[in-house]
């Protein structure tokens, strides 16, 4: 509890994930920017990924929006609902 870190992201713990917008950003950063690129028959290009990440980064950098996204994930809602629109207006 005396840790100097405000946020230590333990990916195995979903509760921690939910309390931290950082973890969502870091996840996006890892999943979109990194990893082995195996060109499937459909693959998004590196430049596209940078742009997508920057866009998401700006969008998701407030705790509130990160939680919105996570809530939707938890509830397994289909994108295209009002929540999606709410996010889009922020762009």
């Amino acid at each position: 509890m005396n840790s100097p870190f405000e946020q230590v992201v333990l990916q195995s713990d979903i509760d921690e994930l939910e309390t931290s917008d950082l973890s969502l950003l870091e996840t996006l950063d890892h999943v979109l920017n990194r990893g082995l690129v195996i060109a499937g028959e459909i693959t998004i290009s590196v430049a596209d990924i940078d742009l997508i990440f920057l866009g998401l980064n700006v969008l998701v950098s407030s705790v509130e929006k990160a939680h919105e996204v996570l809530r939707e994930r938890e509830q397994g809602k289909n994108p295209g609902t009002s929540e999606t629109e709410g996010l889009q207006t922020e762009r």
């Binding site: 870190f5 992201v9 973890s23 499937g40 028959e41 693959t43 998401l56």
Partner: protein, 275 residues
């Protein structure tokens, strides 16, 4: 329904999360698998000659080139898929050595995945060996420029001198001296930040099997200051505790200078899987 892809009304594609050894994959699959990238899909294995690709069938309607590009501009759609991708990769990474792919490797046919496993077999096996027993930790460095400048002011003999001169100088001279102080302070802050960053990198490098300095794509300053450097380290599981303890020590050491360390992990070894 879609077991026989070619015959089905709605065409599915194959989304690949990562690749691991077939024996381990079978054991993990038998114990139960996490949710797939799409709600109504399952996580499946496609196995060729000792290697398994972890895949899901996804509707081409959402994942074909044009619709994918459009979906990706929807932040919620993308964020949710990225989280699910991560959860699947992580599920395997916690249990075996996995080659984590990044989001968006999609094959139109089952056979396309099989071909990929065959064609890249040696490369994939080499990566699996290199990553075995290891995961990735991230260190982000944030700098609070004001705090750092304050520390520099009190520590730098040259700056202390200039401050003393400015205090007793005429208004005109004092103006010029303050300009000089600002420039010098910015220079010294920058080199101090570089020094700390190198120290941090070198210290963790000695505990890591591999090190990457990552591009800083994050644009905005946060409440923790400005993101100034980002590193990834490939660490043996046996060294996790030491790594964490070292991070805590370095964080304490530098926090008074306005430099914050942020530790994230463990991650599947996204940064060490290739390229």
């Amino acid at each position: 329904m879609t077991g026989n892809g070619e015959k089905a009304e709605v065409k599915d594609a194959f989304y690949v999360y990562g690749i691991c050894e077939a024996t381990a994959a079978a054991v993990i699959a038998a114990e139960g698998l996490p949710g797939a990238i799409e709600e109504d899909a399952g996580v499946e294995l496609i196995t060729v000659d000792g290697l398994s690709a972890v895949v899901s069938r996804v509707p081409l309607a959402s994942y074909a080139e044009l619709s994918l590009a459009e979906n990706l501009t929807d932040a919620t759609w993308t964020a949710v898929r990225a989280m699910r991708h991560q959860q699947v990769v992580e599920h395997f990474a916690r249990r075996t050595s996995v080659v984590p792919l990044r989001f968006g490797a999609i094959y139109l046919e089952f056979e396309g995945v099989e071909r990929m496993l065959t064609d890249r077999k040696l490369e994939l096996k080499e990566i699996i060996e290199r990553l075995r027993g290891r995961e990735e930790w991230g260190i982000n460095l944030y700098a609070d420029r004001e705090t750092l400048a304050g520390v520099i002011d009190s520590l730098s003999p040259r700056l202390r001198d200039l401050h003393e001169q400015a205090a007793t100088a005429s208004p005109g001279q004092s103006y010029l001296l303050r300009k000089k102080i600002e420039t010098l302070r910015a220079d010294e802050s920058r080199s101090e930040l570089q020094r700390i960053s190198s120290e941090v990198e070198d210290t963790f490098r000695s505990l890591a099997d591999e090190t990457r300095r990552l591009r800083v794509l994050r644009v905005e300053a946060t409440e923790h200051g400005e993101l100034t450097a980002k590193f990834a380290f490939l660490i043996k599981r046996a060294s996790f505790e030491e790594f964490r303890a070292t991070a805590e020590r370095l964080a304490r050491k530098h926090e008074l200078s306005g430099v914050r360390l942020e530790l994230t992990g463990p991650w599947p070894a996204y940064n060490f899987a290739g390229d």
